[in-house]
């Protein structure tokens, strides 16, 4: 059994969001980089749990990015996983990320591919679904629980207004969100072991550019909060009714 976990590098959740070069680039100065939380807390940790239950499982991690990604890949390896692959290119969009992962995954033949439900920077939420289409595999998106029973997976997924539990034969691509696993912190043994785990760098395949992030801007600043006395709750309702028109 081989599992591939897709890992993305994102700014820390508390990073200041600003743009440079005439608002065409994210301002990276001083930004702390992390493993995209959905990839780490849910996708990777669930894969590690599966390996703990069945040590014959092999876990590969894959990232599409330049050498700046290496620190977060090492951190992911410290949590678990047997080896990592970095496709050496800065991807332009979800399509190019999925394309590079699909090119690699096709040769390896994974039984299970995990992604996070989206990255917290570009919020595309598309790599897992695109990858499944490129590999012509079933896709279960927005999973909130994942169980493996031999050659079949039992997955609970978010649907409009609730959840649905499905069974699907492997191989399958699954996007993970809260519920699939609980966040972990790497221990010292993991950190030491990660130093010697293989991190293989592969060169990208040629692909077309389908979409371009051409500019960014920040939302206008809030006018400031209008405080209403706790003794005068009717006034708040009046404001919401007459001024904001939301009641």
């Amino acid at each position: 059994m081989k599992i591939l976990v897709c890992i993305s590098k994102t700014p820390d959740t508390t990073a200041k969001i600003a743009f440079t070069d005439n608002n065409t680039k994210f301002a990276e100065t001083g930004v702390q980089w992390i493993i995209n939380p959905y990839d780490e807390w849910y996708a990777l940790v669930r894969a590690i749990e599966l390996k703990e239950a069945d040590p014959s499982i092999t876990i590969h991690l894959i990232n599409v990015g330049n050498a700046d990604s290496d620190p977060i890949i090492r951190k992911a390896l410290a949590l678990g996983g047997d080896e990592a692959i970095r496709v050496n290119t800065q991807p332009a969009d979800s399509y190019s990320t999925a394309f590079q992962i699909a090119e690699f995954a096709r040769q390896e033949g994974y039984d299970l591919i995990f992604t996070g439900k989206e990255t917290i920077d570009y919020n595309g939420g598309a790599v897992g679904a695109m990858l499944s289409e490129m590999l012509d595999l079933p896709y279960v998106g927005l999973a909130t629980s994942f169980l493996l029973n031999g050659k079949t997976a039992t997955i609970t997924r978010e649907i409009e207004g609730g959840e649905e539990t499905v069974e699907v034969p492997l191989p399958v691509v699954v996007s993970c969100q809260k519920g699939v696993a609980e966040a972990r912190i790497p221990n010292m043994r993991g950190i030491m072991a990660a130093r010697t785990k293989p991190l293989k760098v592969v060169e990208p395949k040629q692909t077309e550019t389908q979409t371009v992030f051409s500019g960014f801007n920040l939302p206008p600043a809030k006018a400031g909060v209008k405080l209403v006395s706790s003794e005068n709750v009717e006034e708040l309702v009046r404001l919401l009714h007459e001024e904001a028109r939301v009641i």
């Binding site: 743009f19 919020n123 289409e133 649905e164 069974e167 699907v168 920040l218 209008k226 009641i247």
Partner: protein, 321 residues
């Protein structure tokens, strides 16, 4: 040339998010001088010709017992066949849970550039540019789509439904439907309540409520407002509330017209899930709570005193007390 809009449904009803997608797709068709058409898979109780009220001329209705199960892989192949047969140039989805699984797959299959989470009509004067939310609602981006065929997933609650009168022709097409690989073995729908991502009003509470036994006042306010319930991460982690109510960076991201946060301090991770709300009301006894900085209206006070009064005041305005 056509704009094809995927019409999602659940419990036999066309969802509000699909009505938004229909209204959005019809506007794009007007903008580029194309016809707007819909595609619907499976069975619904909605009267299909009446979907013409949203401005579409045709509904391609694909019926097959194999479509009773939502399998993204088999659905994608059906939608792509419809798009090919009807020469669709722009394909619109709602960025809801079904759309998030389908739209990227359809895009790959059609060799189309994809934009998820669109929040406005495309700008077509110079190229084809779509505005979307990025950095979890903290910024916007313009995405230029370079391909001939384009797929867009419209954020829920980002575009108003516009309804007139019209009659859509219902057309069936000859489409191959694959057997789904996915088998549904159980569903758990929160019946009778408003779906959180689609709700126009959301009432949310946090640790300030002190325990799950105190949620009655929150539920009363929500039902008076016709609102969906939400909660902060510590509340979901402590199992006071189900995790599908957790909104925030790692939970569900929402964009209602009105978000009322009660006893939630407003950590940056929570704000990332709710900052697209149009109006934010914060009720917190700590005047230093960071949430007040992101709020439009606020009350500094004890939730246990303020919330029941608020429910009464809303009832008065709505004429139900």
């Amino acid at each position: 040339m056509s704009v094809l809009i995927y019409i999602d449904h659940s419990d036999g009803q066309v969802k509000k998010s699909s009505m938004e997608a229909l209204s959005y797709g019809v506007k794009i068709a007007e903008q580029i001088g194309a016809v707007a058409e819909g595609v619907l898979l499976g069975d619904v109780s909605t009267d299909l010709p009446s979907l013409g009220n949203f401005g579409i001329k045709k509904v391609y209705h694909i019926q097959n017992s194999l479509l009773q199960i939502f399998d993204a892989q088999s659905y994608t192949k059906v939608i792509a066949q419809v798009a090919q047969q009807t020469s669709a140039k722009i394909i619109i989805f709602s960025n809801n849970s079904a759309g998030k699984s389908l739209a990227p797959k359809v895009a790959v299959r059609m060799n189309a550039g994809y934009v998820s989470g669109a929040i406005a009509l495309p700008e077509t004067s110079n190229g084809f540019n779509v505005r979307k939310n990025v950095f979890s609602g903290k910024a916007f981006a313009n995405v230029e789509v370079k391909t001939e065929i384009k797929v867009i997933a419209l954020n829920v609650n980002a575009f108003s439904v516009s309804e007139g009168t019209g009659n859509a022709e219902v057309v069936s097409l000859n489409i191959d439907v694959e057997a789904p690989k996915v088998k549904v073995i159980g569903t758990n729908k929160t019946k009778g309540t408003v779906s959180l991502t689609e709700a126009e009003t959301v009432v949310s509470a946090g640790r300030g409520l002190k325990g799950p036994e105190n949620w009655k006042i929150i539920e009363d306010l929500a039902s008076t407002l016709g609102a969906a319930l939400a909660c902060s991460r510590p509340v979901a982690d402590a199992h006071w509330r189900p995790h599908n109510e957790h909104v925030g960076q790692t939970g569900i991201a929402i964009a209602p017209n009105l978000y009322i946060a009660i006893g939630i301090s407003g950590a940056i991770q929570h704000l990332a899930g709710v900052n697209r709300s149009k109006v934010i009301v914060v009720i917190n006894k700590d005047p230093e709570a960071p949430f007040f900085k992101a709020a439009d209206y606020g009350i500094v006070g004890d939730a246990f005193e303020v919330v029941p009064k608020l429910t009464q005041a809303v009832k008065k305005v709505k004429g139900i007390a």
